[in-house]
């Protein structure tokens, strides 16, 4: 009986706070993406043909986002019947976009206009460990092209 109370409290807590955090994060992501739109990002290894001399440097953005209890239960239920794990979809989406944003922010601070050869690495922090809330890490990195003053 006590277990059930704990379980229900955790799931409610996870849902409420997870949902608030997620909504807030998505809003922030949308806003900052708009602000940093001038920085172009490409996954191509080589930069587009350039008309001006540039300096190159590595820029990177890294983020870790945790699953809330509600998401974990929803995902474990989903693992019984299969299908799209919608609970985790938003999580990965947030992590990916946030990592790219942080990378773009760094590029912007350096005065870059373009980032090419952008790559994403995804890692699960609590890999294979049971009874633990998992977290996802996304690491975005690329080559920033900074126009040199000529």
């Amino acid at each position: 009986m006590f277990d059930i109370v704990v379980f229900l409290s955790l799931i409610t807590l996870g849902y409420i706070f997870g949902r608030i955090a997620e909504t807030r994060h998505f809003k922030s992501i949308a806003l900052r993406e708009q602000q940093l739109r001038s920085i172009l990002c490409f996954s191509e290894r080589l930069p587009p043909p350039l008309s001006e001399p540039v300096e190159t440097t590595l820029v990177a953005g890294n983020v870790v986002i945790s699953v809330d209890y509600f998401k974990r239960i929803a995902a474990s239920l989903r693992s019984l019947i299969g299908g799209r794990v919608t609970a985790y979809e938003t999580l990965i989406e947030r992590a990916r976009r946030e990592a790219i944003l942080r990378m773009k922010q760094e590029a912007s601070n350096l005065g870059a206009t373009t980032v090419c050869n952008v790559k994403l690495e995804t890692a699960s922090i609590t890999k294979g460990k049971k009874q633990q809330i998992g977290s996802v890490e996304v690491y975005a990195y690329g080559t920033a092209l900074i126009p040199t003053q000529s």
């Binding site: 849902y15 993406e33 739109r37 490409f42 929803a74 019947i81």
Partner: protein, 272 residues
């Protein structure tokens, strides 16, 4: 060439379905499946356990209940002899299958109780015997417990108990060794588990028929439940209790009495 990063529309990678809706659908689906699976497993276990030969049940009882619930050596007292004789008479009336044997054990102590357990053992406590007003009431108790044994209720209850224990253990994710350990530890408890309300009612009906056959009437049968009613200050509602509520059992006896309108006098208990 003009390079640009177009704005990507939202909601491509994530579904906009409300997470609670998805969750509720999954919960209901999985819940219904699990409940259905358990209902089938329980029904199957209860049904299959009927085919366990009585001989096997006796051996199972020897390794579990005998020695703990059932005293190993029963005293050859006057009371014990009287109970054994009365039980034998009642067993004859019920026409039990040949392989089933019934053993009655008289235990001294204040406990007001009697029950049937694995291996055809019936336990009756001194506390109950002392409170009974006449032999007919005692016969009602014994006939009721014999009926349980005839219907194989103890082994069915055990099958149900083991299934529940297994289900609980597997649900809470206990390892295999722990399951076996829990089973062994709890087997005594499980065999002493209460029978279902239907089983109780069937045993009551069978006991009334036995009394009618043995005494020619059922007078004294309801004395037993009147006694329970008198001594039980708090009676839980039926859905919380495995036994039918006493008033219902008394009503059941009265109905039986109306259908078989024989009269007679109760037989007093011999001095014990």
């Amino acid at each position: 060439m003009n390079y640009q990063n177009p704005k990507i529309p939202e909601g491509i990678n994530i579904s906009d379905e409300h997470p609670l809706k998805d969750f509720a659908a999954m919960l209901i689906g999985v819940g219904v499946f699990i409940v259905a699976a358990f209902v089938i497993i329980f029904a199957l276990a209860e049904w299959l356990v009927r085919f366990v030969p009585f001989e096997v049940e006796t051996r199972l009882a020897e390794s579990t209940v005998v020695g703990t619930l059932v005293p190993a050596v029963t005293t050859a007292s006057k009371t014990q002899k009287y109970l054994t004789a009365l039980t034998a008479d009642l067993v004859q009336q019920q026409q039990l299958p040949e392989d089933i044997s019934v053993t009655v054990h008289y235990i001294e102590g204040d406990t007001v109780n009697a029950y049937a357990t694995l291996g055809g053992h019936i336990i009756i406590y001194q506390g109950l015997l002392e409170k009974l007003p006449n032999e007919n009431a005692l016969a009602m108790v014994l006939a009721h417990e014999i009926a349980h044994i005839k219907h194989r209720d103890p082994i069915i209850a055990m099958g149900r108990g083991v299934t529940i224990a297994l289900a609980m253990a597997s649900l809470s994710g206990v390892g295999e060794n722990a399951v076996a350990e829990t089973l062994i530890n709890q087997i005594n408890f499980l065999t002493a588990m209460a029978f279902s309300r239907d089983q109780e009612k069937d045993a009551d009906d069978e006991a009334l028929k036995t009394l009618l056959a043995y005494y020619g009437h059922i007078k004294g049968a309801e004395d037993l439940f009147a006694l329970f009613q008198h001594h039980q200050s708090f009676e839980p509602p039926e859905f919380l209790s495995s036994h039918p509520v006493n008033q219902e059992r008394i009503d059941n006896i009265r109905l039986f009495q109306q259908a078989n309108n024989y009269t007679g006098a109760t037989r007093p208990l011999p001095p014990l």
